[in-house]
């Protein structure tokens, strides 16, 4: 889903950093909500309450989409212009690799004590119905969908390529819109 939007916006956008700007807006909006919500006091009104909360519960920290978006922007606006199919492969692969390289280590960082603060929200987004003693609270437990495997990654990379190619098409259409 993400490459479709990011590539589409980058292709149609007039600015050099359209996709990066869109991703940054997403991160700022979600982050803003995340940082503001816990300022309001709240109390759970439904049983069972395993995790007694006293403030609004934020979402988790926004995905680091700005980094793959930067890669997409640089590739699309580079001088060398391969055909759209090759470009789709290039963009999809770039999105996948950069996103993986940034988000995966960041995920590990999120589980460390260093992330347990108001900014990174490492321990703040557990809702009232989560067991505070659950083993996955501070660690990565298993992989129920079986996605974090080599075939899983290959599928994700292939989907990124398809999504990026569709993004190019959508971007072309979007660029032609005149009213």
């Amino acid at each position: 889903m993400f490459p479709l939007f990011l590539v589409g916006i980058a292709r149609a956008g007039r600015s050099r950093w359209s996709a990066t700007a869109a991703a940054a807006v997403y991160m700022a909006l979600l982050g803003g909500v995340d940082w503001v919500l816990p300022l309001f006091p709240a109390e759970a009104r439904l049983a069972p309450i395993y995790n007694p909360i006293t403030r609004m519960v934020p979402f988790c920290f926004p995905l680091l989409l700005a980094f793959p978006a930067m890669a997409i922007d640089s590739l699309l606006k580079s001088r060398r212009r391969p055909g759209d199919n090759a470009l789709g492969v290039l963009l999809g692969a770039a999105f996948f690799l950069v996103f993986l390289a940034v988000q995966w280590p960041f995920g590990w960082f999120q589980m460390t004590p260093a992330a347990r603060n108001w900014f990174f929200l490492g321990d703040r987004y557990w809702s009232y119905y989560f067991h505070p003693g659950a083993p996955w609270r501070y660690g990565f437990i298993g992989d129920p969908a079986g996605m974090a495997t080599v075939p899983g990654f290959l599928v994700a990379a292939a989907l990124s390529v398809v999504s990026a190619r569709l993004g190019l098409l959508a971007g072309d259409r979007l660029a032609r819109v005149r009213r």
């Binding site: 439904l46 049983a47 069972p48 309450i49 009213r179």
Partner: protein
């Protein structure tokens, strides 16, 4: 043939919980109608039997979260025109055993009590017609809007402002719109398949008590009933150990089909991981419906349902009062005339030993209505009409079993209502002392009043048979009553 259904939690065909007890100094009667779906809203009504009440609050306490994991209580609102009656609704968010904690605040201070209930999916709610048409109307509106946007985008979006699209462009736009319509239809189709899948999954998750089979075999002159739980989930991940209720692991009620003329209340003991056995008393052979109440350590009660073919007793064994030394001393049974088409309900039942039991709260003049909350009150007298002395029978002043003639309703009642003592013990720990002794729990003292009563509402119309059991003179006595509920 009785309809033996496992689609029930504690009790069969009678999902509501009735409780009579006290919250501190206030006598209360509580009725809880579970939603039958999870999550769902349970309707709670509390009738306080004394005046000077300022407010009544209710809150749900799940067994594993405890009072610390319960939300702030909701205030139950007084019901207009019915002094002393308070009503409210609480969300039960997850499956399992809950206690509804009731606090009454007033002139006599604050009194609390807890009523255990099971939050279980027992049905799948259909979509109402009104909601169906509303959703359909929104879907049509949404799709029409979507097609209009597609057509506008395809025909005009790439043209300079003000320029009209030519015929070729309009034709191409129409084709694009038709293709989009096809995509929308595919989406609709997918959605319908998805919702059917969700529905099937919900139907699979409907709670059923453990699948159980029963058989009776002859061991010499003694017949032994064996109940086997052969459900794959027994001892599975969701399984919890059973706990004692009135000192017994299992309360088993057997009634002969179809006339309900023979009745036994037995207490099988575990002979293996999944098998329970009890000697079968001196009752005639035939097909028996079996209802066995068990409670697990979370306080969740359920009724196991089975059917057993009982062979006729061997000659000479029929006169034996206790069929075996393995029999539980609290086992009891009774033979009575077949359940006739109930026209006039007999209001007096002979208990033997010169005792008789009168259904004091019923009268020929006033029919009993389905859904109406009642206090079923019984009076035990000796031959001279004096109230008999009632002794505790398994810690209670009395036990009652209620069965509809087709087996679609079975409930095991105590003076404090439909809840099991074991559930109360598990779930209402600190309020237990508040649940007054005078409301049916008896530990050692005898009661000379000769009276026992049960709060209940018959869930639907039809003929019912009631077996009311008390202990007097050291023996368990069973009164039998028939009633036609309208």
């Amino acid at each position: 043939m009785l309809l033996l259904s496992r689609d029930a939690a504690a009790h069969v065909g009678s999902p509501d919980t009735f409780f009579a007890g006290s919250a501190g100094k206030y006598p209360v009667r509580v009725t809880i109608r579970p939603p039958g779906v999870v999550p769902g809203l349970a309707e709670i009504s509390v009738r306080v039997g004394s005046s000077g009440v300022r407010r009544v609050t209710i809150r749900p306490v799940r067994y594993d979260a405890g009072p610390a994991g319960a939300p702030a209580p909701d205030v139950a609102t007084p019901v207009a025109g019915q002094p002393g009656l308070y009503a409210g609704a609480l969300w039960l968010m997850s499956e399992g055993s809950y206690a509804i904690e009731i606090a009454v605040e007033g002139e006599s201070g604050t009194g609390r009590t807890s009523v255990p209930i099971a939050s279980l999916p027992t049905r799948v709610l259909p979509m109402g017609r009104g909601l169906f048409f509303l959703v359909l109307a929104f879907a049509v509106l949404l799709m029409a809007g979507g097609l209009a946007i597609v057509f506008a985008a395809a025909s005009e979006s790439a043209l300079p402002p003000g320029e009209k699209p030519g015929p070729a462009r309009r034709r191409a736009a129409r084709n694009t719109t038709m293709a989009a319509g096809g995509v929308f239809l595919l989406l609709l189709f997918g959605e319908s398949a998805w919702s059917a899948r969700v529905r099937r999954s919900a139907e699979r998750q409907v709670f059923r008590s453990y699948r159980t089979t029963a058989e009776v075999r002859a061991e010499g002159a003694v017949r032994v009933m064996k109940l086997s739980i052969d459900d794959p989930t027994w001892k599975g991940a969701t399984w919890r150990p059973l706990v004692l209720d009135h000192g017994k692991l299992m309360h088993l009620f057997a009634m002969r089909e179809p006339a309900l003329d023979a009745f036994a209340h037995l207490h099988p003991v575990a002979v293996s991981e999944r098998e329970f056995e009890a000697p079968f008393p001196s009752l005639p052979g035939g097909t028996y419906s079996i209802f066995a109440d068990v409670t697990d350590e979370t306080g969740l009660s359920q009724t196991l349902v089975a059917r057993a073919e009982v062979p006729a007793a061997a000659a000479g064994a029929a006169t034996a009062l206790l069929p075996s030394s393995r029999a539980d001393p609290d086992d009891s049974w009774r033979i009575s005339p077949p359940l006739p088409p109930v026209v006039r309900q007999p209001l007096v039942s002979d208990l033997g030993g010169g005792l008789s039991m009168t259904w004091a709260s019923a009268s020929q003049a006033a029919p009993i209505l389905a859904g109406r909350e009642l206090t079923l009150r019984f009076l035990v007298c000796d031959s001279g009409g004096r109230p008999a002395v009632l002794e505790p029978y398994m810690g209670m002043k009395g036990h009652a079993a209620v069965v509809r003639d087709d087996g679609s309703v079975f409930v095991h009642l105590h003076p404090m209502g439909t809840v099991s003592m074991a559930s109360l013990d598990r779930l209402s720990g600190r309020h237990r002392s508040d649940s007054s002794e005078s409301h049916g729990t008896m530990n050692s003292a005898s009661d000379p009043g000769g009276e026992v009563s049960f709060p209940y509402a018959f869930p639907k119309a039809g003929p019912y048979r009631l077996w009311v059991q008390v202990r007097s003179g050291g023996e368990v006595r069973t009164g039998v009553f028939d009633v036609l509920v309208r």
